[in-house]
């Protein structure tokens, strides 16, 4: 029969697991918050809060898949909550300064930096729910069904929101950058 693990040792083990989870998923959580809030300090604070919540709940999560699902769900809900409490205004596309675009990842440079920056700005101009769906769909590469599970809404609603958001983004890109840039 296995000897019971002392409490301090168990805490170290748990903290070790937790450290591994943080290192593994920090980019996901931080990027979701950053794309949604477009405010790096606020995004870091939100991501830290998400991981602290995970730390408190870690023993209730059964599998690594469950942890990822939980992180996406809690991050999404915290993003919406933060927007609701801060009453962050919806930024119009025309009001966005050119420098408002977020920095690109230091690892990979985008094929068209100008288009990528413009798309990030346009995503920020979407309504909160649609913005979150676009982030989950194109940053996290999730299906409409997975997004529906995270946001607690029907998959059909997610699909229609995504289609509308895409049409809106495409229309804005065409208006601001011209047909040629999106087709090439």
């Amino acid at each position: 029969m296995a000897e019971p693990v002392p409490a301090e040792e168990a805490a170290d083990v748990a903290l070790g697991d937790f450290a591994e989870i943080v290192r593994q998923h920090q980019s996901m959580v931080f990027s979701m918050a950053l794309r949604f809030l477009a405010d790096p300090p606020a995004a870091e604070e939100l991501a830290q809060d998400v991981f602290m919540q995970l730390h408190a709940k870690l023993n209730t999560l059964k599998s690594p898949e469950h942890v990822v699902f939980w992180l996406r769900k809690v991050t999404s809900h915290r993003c919406i909550d933060r927007l609701r409490h801060s009453r962050m205004p919806q930024v119009s596309l025309d009001d966005l300064p050119e420098s408002a675009g977020l920095e690109f990842s230091r690892d990979v440079q985008p094929a068209d930096p100008f288009l990528s920056r413009r798309l990030q700005q346009l995503v920020r101009s979407l309504p909160a729910k649609a913005r979150l769906m676009v982030i989950l769909r194109y940053q996290e590469d999730l299906s409409a069904e997975d997004i529906a599970g995270i946001l607690d809404m029907p998959a059909a609603t997610v699909k229609s929101h995504l289609q509308r958001a895409l049409a809106m983004l495409r229309d804005k890109v065409v208006r601001t950058m011209g047909e040629v840039r999106t087709d090439t």
Binding site: V22, Q26, S27, S31, M52, F104, D112, Q139, D141, L166
Partner: protein, 149 residues
Amino acid sequence: MTHFEDELKDALRRQKPPDGFADRVLARAAESDSRPAKRTWRDSWLNIFAQPFAPANLLHWATVAAVAAALVVGGVHYRNVHVQRERAQGEAAKARLLLALRIAGSKLQLAKARVDQINSGPINRREVNSDQRHPDPNSDPTANQQERE
């Protein structure tokens, strides 16, 4: 996936958090681990049964005692008020009944006096007189003659 969606995917790819992010999270987690766990309101109340004589639970016991005393005093007061109100209502009903009986008694007295007055009054005398003036036709006339002779 269309070219536009590819562009979108490229624009929204994951980004690394600022340097030291994980360390800051772990430091916060370690700090929260070292801090004594904050007892919830429910836990602290349930603890009074687990450790009834612990000094930390004295305040809870005092609260329980105060609430119990307030309930007892309130109950007794409510009962007293209720009993007093019922007694007052009973007294009022009794007074009304006595008044009604008194009124009914006086009316009966009046009625009896009137009946007595009628029985012993001029109506009876009149009846006597009318008997003398109109002898009974059914009575035997020879009897009267014999009396007269």
